[in-house]
């Protein structure tokens, strides 16, 4: 499935900003199941100094420095990607979840990279409360994918998507007690639960298609950046991406930008400004299937 992504972030400042530095995670990374056909990022005003690179997790990053006074700043990222995530394995064939936890804890050639996602991170520490919430889905010896799918479905069913009730500072505990939030909150909740059970889980940043295919309901989290959870199933089966906001297995309605331990590692656009007083931010995202032949 070929998609075209168009993502515009704009800042309007009350007073001109004299100097600013921004770090963007806005270009999709290439993956075996995600071919990046084209990708580009441009800004208005143009950056005085721009650099591109690859972060510790292998994500594509861009630095943008502006040193002329500017009353507004707009970053546009555009990409064409061909995605088709493979079907997850037969869940009965995946190992028991405790075996996966044990493999991760001991690291070694097949597990050391996954093990990074076992540990606390600032926004998604291992959470005893979240683990307790998840525990009914993780009875002893159950195949890990069966448990993960059930947890994913439960978060989708039992939590309400509502914008504006949470912030970056909202903790997993608050989300658990409110039972509402946005995709970022659900992703952090699920990650905190899995880490609490000793399973590696990572935060995936990306997009979900704006308009649903005919006959299906519109997905939650479209029109904006989206986030979901990468879950590890052990050395043999690797990672599976689950979207608890929509109760989905990620297959061909999502485009991956990159991943990290939590939102902070893959913030789409963060920056430091000098001056500017108050600012207003607006974000526009479109993810559309590319017309045939393009």
């Amino acid at each position: 499935m070929i998609y075209r992504v168009h993502h515009v972030t704009s800042y309007e400042y009350q007073a001109p900003v004299a100097l600013s530095a921004h770090l963007a995670h806005l270009l999709p990374r290439a993956l075996p199941c995600q071919r990046v056909l084209s990708a580009g990022l441009h800004t208005a005003p143009a950056a005085s100094w721009r650099r591109d690179g690859t972060d510790h997790f292998g994500n594509t990053v861009t630095w943008l420095f502006l040193d002329v006074a500017h009353p507004a700043f707009e970053v546009t990222a555009e990409a064409t990607v061909d995605v088709g995530f493979p079907d997850p394995p037969d869940f009965a064939a995946t190992p028991g979840w405790e075996a996966v936890a044990s493999a991760a804890r001991h690291g070694g050639p097949a597990a050391w990279q996954a093990a990074e996602f076992l540990f606390d991170s600032p926004l998604a520490p291992a959470s005893a409360e979240a683990a307790a919430y998840a525990a009914p889905s993780f009875p002893a010896g159950r195949p890990v994918l069966a448990s993960l799918l059930e947890l994913n479905a439960r978060i989708y069913r039992e939590f309400t998507f509502r914008a504006g009730v949470t912030t970056t500072a909202t903790t997993i505990r608050e989300v658990l007690s409110k039972r509402e939030g946005v995709c970022q909150d659900f992703a952090h909740l699920m990650i905190g639960a899995l880490r609490g059970l000793g399973l590696p889980a990572r935060y995936v940043s990306g997009y979900i298609r704006t308009l649903a295919p005919p006959g299906r309901t519109r997905r939650l989290g479209a029109d904006q950046s989206h986030a979901w959870v990468g879950c590890w199933m052990g050395p043999e089966h690797g990672w599976v991406d689950l979207d608890p906001t929509n109760g989905l297995v990620v297959k061909e309605e999502h485009v991956v930008l990159g991943w990290g331990r939590d939102f902070r590692d893959v913030t789409p656009l963060r920056g430091v400004i000098l001056g500017g007083a108050e600012h207003e931010l607006s974000v526009r995202v479109e993810l559309e299937p590319a017309a045939a032949g393009t």
Binding site: R51, T54, G58, T60, W63, E116, L118, A163, P268, R270
Partner: protein, 852 residues
């Protein structure tokens, strides 16, 4: 029983201590006591607490008895530490590079990935297009990184078997080097006798070698190669004083995050002249706090610094991520890592350490041992090199149980060691030598392709019973002497030519922040002096038993002036009796009153400028400020003659202090840079005070319908301007408005008058700006013309006194213009100083996150 450094097991002196002990004995106890006191005095006069009265004293105290090490013994330590530095550099190079140690299972993932010292942005690579990296999993640079570690220190203890062992590796930012150098110098001042009979390896070679190595690191990519600067978190940091001393030792700039900016991939210092390139940045801050763009978003730091460093625009020493290997749990892996990475055995063992993690070799067994017999162990957080050790044996029962429960539940968070019985070194206490447990810190730098150790170091004597995990923490510091056996073995640094410096004489290189601080030091000093003068004049009038009517009117004027100056509160003063007024004045002078607050502001600025004034000037100011505080302590805010006298005396001391500082600045500071701004601040403040006081004086109660009263107001104004004698010598006893106003407003020869301030301010602004910028000096000239016009108008008026009573609005307008001029100076020279804010990551609304 611990080993004694000075005495052998049979009660005899070790041979290399004989000479020192002989000298100490011949000096005798009273002399030693007196020298120790002199050392304490030096510490107060030159230490950090002298800079910031009320601030906690320098955590390092200094003991005058050195620790003696034989050169051969020291050489073994230096070689062992050089090997350790090579090893840690190789470990860092791998973990911030290909991470083979993790992939091959040599190190467990938790040691790195759960370690707060592992800074992921330091593994980011940049400068290539986004299509070139691997398509699966993590970025895997194929070659280990190098050059991450440049400066390294280790804490060591000597056990009962006589062998030194490493307690802790300091790879982030080892502190204490400057203290070691300073201690050696102080010791030379107070106990010169003991140096005479010892052949000592000098410390200075180390700083020369280091300076040279730093020069070599300066990138020479294009044009101006850039200078060396030391980044400090500022004077509130406990290490700040060490940074001040070190910057002086290395002759480099001491800067704060706000002084620096990244433009086009290069690092610059913001100075009055503009941006000056920095090629090497010594990092006196934790690596996680140096770049809010990629690391802690709430930190001060310099946005873009990491990317500038990746691009080669600046070299950071040490690399920000080097704190990673300070985690105590690394100690358990070092012998295996040495064999693996260097193919060598560790020359210098560490104190045996067990990581209690399931995944660590021997971890579960060690954990069981700790849980079985907790009293026999010391426990520390596994991944935090700065956290103190806990001795379960000394913990209260509840705390011990809770610690043991945490160890049982999450062993990977702790390491355990058997307590080390550190060797004892003699310390001077009350004239006697008392043995104290000793930890030493030795320093190494990578220069000319090899690791070199400073031939000396910082000893740290611990309080008795503090054998609990003695990591050298600030405490009682000791000089470490390496006794030379072959004087010819002392080699100089390799030569490295620095390009000849261009001659500079302007204020231009001064950081804008420092200029700003000097400007405000000048203003605060003048404000303090003015307030003291007014207060003393008011107290003198209250002292008379029955004041004459004109004295009462003068008191009203003084009250108005004191209110204007912020010494008295207008609402409190309104309707006060004389008794009440007297009490209000005493309260303003007493501790925690307005004068005290002004002294506090001067102290704060003095502290911020510690590294910008000469030692002598600083000592005088610090001592003066302390004495002023003591003088204020004597004032009891009770209404009686004695209290007024004490307060009046204290105010006179303030005036003496202000005059001393002004004299020192004139004689002692280079005419340029900071001095210009200090002086400008004083002129701006004093010009405003003249205008204000004169306006109040001319508004003497009743003067508007009885102009003759103006004479009293002018007399008072002359007194406040310290100009009575000058006036009398010029005009004998006849007081007329125009001549008096001329002396105070238009005569540029009167240093307390307005014209002098404006002329001087104009000259200063001209000197600061150079010839390109005549706008600011022009404003000062215009204000001067306005002051001269006031005098001319009064002179020409048929009734001079009445004309003088019309001046206050013009004087106040002039004062406001002066305030505007001060604003313009701020905007012109200090505008590079707004504070940075993070966007996109912190903030209230989810909309800010760009996430649904």
């Amino acid at each position: 029983m611990a080993l004694d450094e000075m005495v052998d097991g049979k009660g005899g002196l070790r041979p290399h201590w004989r000479s020192l002990l002989g000298i100490l004995t011949s000096l005798g106890r009273p002399v030693l006591v007196e020298r120790a006191q002199r050392l304490e005095r030096i510490a107060t006069e030159e230490g950090v607490s002298a800079l910031l009265p009320g601030a906690p004293p320098d955590p390092w105290r200094f003991d005058p008895i050195p620790v003696l090490l034989k050169q051969a013994e020291f050489a073994r330590l230096a070689s062992g530490l050089a090997q350790r530095a090579r090893l840690l550099e190789a470990v860092l190079g791998d973990l911030y590079g290909p991470q083979r140690l993790l992939a091959e299972g040599v190190l467990p993932p938790a040691l790195v990935y759960a370690n707060p010292g592992f800074l992921r942005p330091c593994r980011t690579s940049s400068g290539h297009t986004s299509s070139g990296h691997t398509a699966s999993g993590q970025a895997t640079p194929d070659r280990p990184r190098s050059g991450l570690l440049q400066f390294y220190a280790a804490d060591l203890v000597r056990g009962f078997d006589g062998a030194w062992r490493v307690l802790a590796d300091r790879t982030g930012w080892p502190n204490g080097l400057a203290h070691a150098l300073e201690n050696r110098r102080r010791l030379g001042r107070i106990l010169p006798e003991i140096f005479a009979s010892h052949l000592l390896c000098p410390l200075e070679h180390f700083t020369e070698v280091w300076q040279d190595a730093l020069q070599r690191l300066v990138p020479h990519a294009d044009g101006d190669p850039g200078g060396v600067a030391l980044l400090t978190p500022g004077h509130a940091d406990s290490d700040w004083f060490g940074h001040v001393l070190l910057a002086r030792e290395l002759s480099c700039a001491l800067v704060e995050g706000g002084d620096l900016t990244v433009r086009g991939g290069r690092l610059f210092l913001k100075t009055l002249r503009g941006l000056q390139p920095i090629g090497v940045l010594l990092r006196g801050e934790p690596g996680s706090r140096i770049d809010p763009l990629e690391l802690a978003p709430d930190a001060a730091g310099v946005p873009g610094l990491l990317e500038a460093a990746r691009d080669g625009g600046v070299h950071i020493v040490n690399h920000p991520g080097t704190g990673l290997v300070e985690a105590p749990a690394f100690a358990a892996f070092l012998p295996a890592l040495a064999r693996r990475l260097l193919g060598e055995e560790l020359e210098l063992p560490g104190v045996e350490t067990h990581w209690l993690a399931d995944s660590a070799p021997g971890g579960p067994a060690a954990r069981d041992a700790v849980l079985r017999d907790p009293g026999a162990w010391l426990v520390r957080p596994a991944l935090d090199g700065a956290a103190p050790a806990l001795a379960p044996a000394t913990l209260p029962e509840a705390a011990r149980q809770s610690l043991l429960a945490r160890i049982a539940a999450a062993g990977e968070k702790y390491v355990a060691r058997s307590p080390v019985m550190a060797s004892a070194a003699p310390c001077l206490e009350g004239g006697e030598l008392v043995p104290r447990p000793l930890v030493i810190r030795l320093f190494l730098t990578h220069a000319g392709g090899a690791w070199r150790a400073m031939q000396g170091g910082l000893g740290c004597a611990l309080a008795d019973g503090a054998a609990a995990w003695p990591v050298a923490a600030p405490g009682l510091a000791k000089d470490i002497w390496v006794l030379a056996e072959d004087p010819l073995a002392i080699a100089g640094p390799p030569a490295h030519r620095i390009p000849a410096l261009a001659i500079r004489r302007t204020a231009g290189d001064l950081p804008s922040r420092v200029a700003d601080n000097f400007f405000w030091l000048g203003r605060y000093l003048e404000r303090l002096e003015g307030a003291a003068r007014l207060l003393r004049a008011a107290l003198a009038r209250l002292a008379r038993p029955s004041p004459a009517p004109h004295e009462l009117a003068e008191l009203d004027v003084l009250t108005a002036c004191l209110t204007q100056a912020g010494v008295l509160n207008a609402e409190v003063v309104a309707g006060l009796s004389h008794l009440g007024l007297s009490e209000a004045l005493l309260r303003a002078a007493a501790p925690w009153g307005a004068i005290h607050a002004m002294i506090g502001r001067v102290s704060r600025m003095t502290g911020l400028l510690r590294d910008r004034v000469t030692g002598e000037m600083h000592t005088v100011m610090a001592r003066g400020l302390r004495e002023l505080e003591d003088a204020l302590e004597q004032i009891r805010p009770r209404e009686d003659a004695k209290a007024r006298e004490t307060a009046s005396g204290a105010m006179s001391r303030v005036l003496v202090f202000a005059a001393t500082v002004a004299g020192l600045a004139a004689e002692n500071m280079v005419r340029g840079g900071g001095r210009l701004f200090l002086d400008l601040g004083r002129r701006v403040e004093r010009a405003q005070a003249v205008a204000d006081e004169l306006a109040c004086a001319l508004e003497l109660p009743g003067a508007d319908h009885q102009p003759a009263l103006v004479e009293h107001g002018l007399r008072l104004a002359l007194e406040l301007r310290d100009s009575v004698i000058t006036y009398r010598s010029r005009y004998s006893g006849v007081l007329q408005p125009a001549p008096a106003l001329d002396l105070m407003l238009a005569d540029p020869g009167n240093p307390r008058g307005l014209a002098f301030q404006l002329v001087t301010a104009g000259t200063l602004l001209h000197e600061i700006a150079g010839i390109q910028d005549a706008a600011l000096p022009g404003i000062a000239a215009t204000l001067l013309a306005g002051a001269e016009a006031m005098v001319r108008d009064v002179q020409a008026a048929p009734d001079q006194a009445r004309a003088a009573t019309l001046l206050p609005p013009r004087l106040r307008a002039l004062r406001d213009d002066m305030a505007d001029l001060s604003d313009l100076v701020s905007r012109r020279y200090f505008a590079l100083l707004p504070t940075a804010r993070s966007v996109g990551i912190e903030g209230g609304t989810p909309a800010l996150l760009g996430a649904a």
